[in-house]
């Protein structure tokens, strides 16, 4: 098993005045991958990570304690008609502030976005209230990078790797799904080792995927990309480095990053180029907070699209209770997938499609998320049946909307006095119709497997945050081009899910990693040419 040797920091240290380095902000799936890919090519990289280093040995088999350890808990606010704004007004998203970012917390589902989803506007046509757009890249463009990403992540059912063995939750899911006629039901494409691979252990079915994989069976940049980047001697990781602002020169090119170090002292790291990968809430917040006389509306924001088109996938869960025991918490959290609904078929009453994936929560989070705010006999009865409960999660394409938006909350400042992010979200009618369809199908699935009761569970704080610095062909339609390079500033890149033009129905991490690999090739080539 690979050790998390980021701690030893054997690698290179770069001076704050060294202006030839590429500064990567964030060490998760996007930033961590980009940093390693660049370092492997000999490009010098400084990685600034706001979180602390927590290694595999530190991970906790306790949901609330782990949440305190890993989650991004700096102040944020939520507004809009989504239930999150009422139930969790200071927790719009459940993402991480730790070395490795949300790649420590993700469940591992690794799916390629389907060809038609890259052409959402062309395929679905104009949808009222939606800001649909075709991606400036096609599935064909991305396929070679998907292949590299699948190899890097050790995705099951690719490259000859077997599928993961299904757990109890999957058995029920499979039984119900096949009984109602679904054909594509299996343990999925997972970045969780089904066999020992890439110096990492196979999965031991611990069931704490969301709390960090103690065995390192699940891919995370924490114990793959980051130590490997450091080993090259071309990357330095600075932890507890909270970026406040990106600076630019008089020509408009970015040239430095201001950050608060672990001791709270403000530092200025000079940079040849900057790549932002802070997840789709912190990334637009940083661009907006970096406004200047030259860029009064924030960096890379001549289109006014920074922060807009915030997407979070159309989600929802259904839990079902059975006469017999289930013990859903045993084994991988996302233990299986139904792919049959992931298609564009408007006879169902909505555009785009969705997946169904098993999910499980421990007792603590089941109580917290089953029906936030609920109490009384009905809630208690559902809790009483915990051990007899199975669960699944719906993950579908949501419509991008201009008014779903990350903005600065200037009333509420963070610990450094910086304006925080407000996340505004309203469901689009298409999202509502899709969720309703997903709920009905999920209930039918569990009834077919013999369920007694089923519970519709509203979306959790967002884990799939997308679209707030969208990729577009034309500068007026979006923030970055097909390489994630900002339309306005050629040495400023976006390297996370913020780039997504539309949301697609697939869990986003594999695409984030693929885009980062592709972007690294592009940045290295641009540097060689002297363009940046």
């Amino acid at each position: 098993m690979t050790n998390t040797n980021t701690q030893e920091q054997p690698g290179k240290k770069f001076s704050l005045d060294d202006d030839h380095v590429v500064v990567v902000i964030g060490s998760g799936a996007g930033g961590g991958t980009l940093a390693n890919e660049l370092a492997q090519k000999g490009v010098d990289v400084v990685i600034l990570e706001a979180g602390k280093l927590h290694t595999q040995a530190d991970f906790l088999a306790d949901e609330w304690a782990s949440f305190q350890q890993l989650a991004w808990l700096d102040p944020r606010t939520a507004s809009g008609s989504w239930r999150i704004a009422r139930d969790f007004p200071n927790l719009p998203a459940w993402i991480c502030k730790t070395v490795g970012g949300t790649s420590v917390h993700w469940a591992g589902a690794s799916l390629r976005i389907q060809p038609y989803e890259f052409k959402a506007l062309t395929t679905y046509g104009k949808v009222d209230g939606a800001t649909l757009l075709d991606w400036p890249i096609s599935r064909e463009d991305l396929d070679p990078y998907y292949a590299r990403a699948e190899k890097k992540l050790g995705v099951t059912r690719t490259n000859g790797l077997p599928g993961l063995p299904g757990n109890n939750n999957f058995k029920i899911f499979h039984e119900g799904a096949t009984k109602i006629g679904y054909k594509h039901v299996n343990t999925g494409h997972m970045a969780i080792n089904s066999v020992t691979n890439d110096d990492r252990a196979h999965c031991y079915q611990r069931g704490f995927c969301f709390q960090g994989c103690r065995f390192g069976a699940k891919w995370s940049t924490l114990y793959t990309e980051l130590p490997r980047a450091i080993e090259t001697g071309h990357a330095e990781l600075r932890t507890e480095a909270h970026v406040a602002r990106i600076e630019h020169d008089e020509t408009g090119k970015v040239n430095a990053v201001l950050y608060y170090d672990a001791k709270g002292a403000l530092q200025r790291q000079k940079a040849r180029a900057v790549a932002v990968a802070g997840n789709s809430i912190e990334t637009p917040r940083l661009l907006l907070n970096s406004h200047s006389a030259k860029f009064a509306n924030g960096l890379a924001n001549s289109s006014d699209q920074v922060g807009r088109n915030y997407m979070r996938h159309t989600t929802g869960s259904v839990y079902a209770t059975f006469a017999n025991k289930v013990d859903m918490y045993k084994g991988t959290v996302m233990a299986g997938i139904v792919e049959d609904e992931a298609r564009h078929d408007t006879s169902r009453g909505f555009a785009g499609g969705y997946h169904m994936e098993t999910i499980s929560l421990g007792l603590s989070f089941y109580a917290a998320f089953l029906d936030p705010g609920a109490w009384g006999p009905k809630f208690a009865d559902a809790m009483d049946q915990y051990a007899h409960t199975a669960g699944l999660w719906i993950v579908g394409e949501d419509m991008p909307q201009s008014s779903n938006r990350v903005t600065l909350n200037t009333e509420l400042k963070d610990q450094y006095g910086l304006p925080t992010a407000n996340v505004h979200f309203d469901d689009h009618p298409n999202d509502v119709a899709m969720r309703e369809h997903g709920f009905k199908q999920s209930e039918a699935l569990y009834k077919a497997a013999g369920a007694k009761d089923t519970y519709r569970v509203p979306p959790y704080p967002s884990t799939h945050n997308l679209g707030t610095a969208r990729m577009s062909d034309k500068p007026e339609d979006g923030v970055v081009n097909k390489h994630g390079q900002s339309h306005d500033i050629r040495n400023l890149f976006i390297s996370d899910g913020s780039q997504f033009t539309t949301g697609a129905a697939e869990n986003p991490t594999l695409t984030i990693v693929s885009l980062a690999i592709r972007q690294a090739d592009y940045i290295a080539a641009q540097m060689k040419q002297g363009s940046i």
Binding site: A61, D62, G166, N167, N168, K171, A367, W375, D384, A449
Partner: protein, 203 residues
């Protein structure tokens, strides 16, 4: 007072390590606290198997004994589980007591809430019939007092070793993984075909 008691919440680790009961109330300890709640686990309780003793006690730091009793009764009606031991509900009172000890506004809010409940009952609200209690609670569900109690309870009640044992959640026991400990032991449905699942990895 015998000195065998269940360790509540934070003290339980120590209890497991030493094999000894950890809350050992003496007269001196009693004098230091503001009140104490006592109880006994039911003979048939699953918790009796893991608890060091059937008797439990919770010493309060801020609330008085009556306030503790009323809040215990309140939490039992907010999350009514027919067979859940009072010892688990007492963990919620413990956390409310902790918050009251740290924050004067919460202490006052809880005191005022209990006073109002007692006024409705014309005496000790905890002795009121369950149906009357439920009506009283429904009437105060929108108050900050209720929200403080409920939001504390939904975390405290379902996030402790006693609750995990009662409701059947593996928690820490799963830390080593269920690969060889029943992750796929469900036997009341057929196993999915091999191509939809995957092989158990050879070590």
């Amino acid at each position: 007072m015998q000195s065998k008691h269940i360790a509540l919440a934070v003290e339980r680790e120590q209890s497991r390590a030493t094999g000894k009961p950890c809350i050992s109330l003496t007269r001196r300890a009693l004098l230091k606290g503001t009140g104490v709640l006592f109880g006994t686990l039911a003979m048939s309780s699953a918790l009796a198997l893991i608890a060091p003793s059937r008797a439990w006690a919770l010493e309060l730091k801020s609330l008085d004994e009556h306030q503790g009793k009323v809040l215990l009764a309140l939490v039992k009606r907010i999350y009514p589980h027919a067979t859940l031991e009072d010892a688990v509900y007492a963990l919620v009172v413990k956390d409310l007591d902790g918050k009251a000890a740290n924050t004067a506004t919460i202490r006052d809010q809880l005191a005022e809430g209990v006073r109002k409940l007692d006024a409705q009952a014309g005496g000790d609200w905890s002795a009121r019939a369950a149906g009357d209690q439920d009506r009283d609670i429904a009437a105060l569900a929108d108050t900050p007092f209720f929200q403080t109690v409920r939001s504390t309870a939904v975390v405290s009640l379902y996030s402790n070793a006693l609750a995990y044992a009662h409701f059947g959640y593996g928690a820490q026991a799963g830390d080593g993984g269920y690969l060889y400990k029943g992750f796929n032991d469900l036997a009341w449905l057929p196993n999915p075909p091999e191509q939809d699942s995957g092989p158990i990895p050879a070590n």
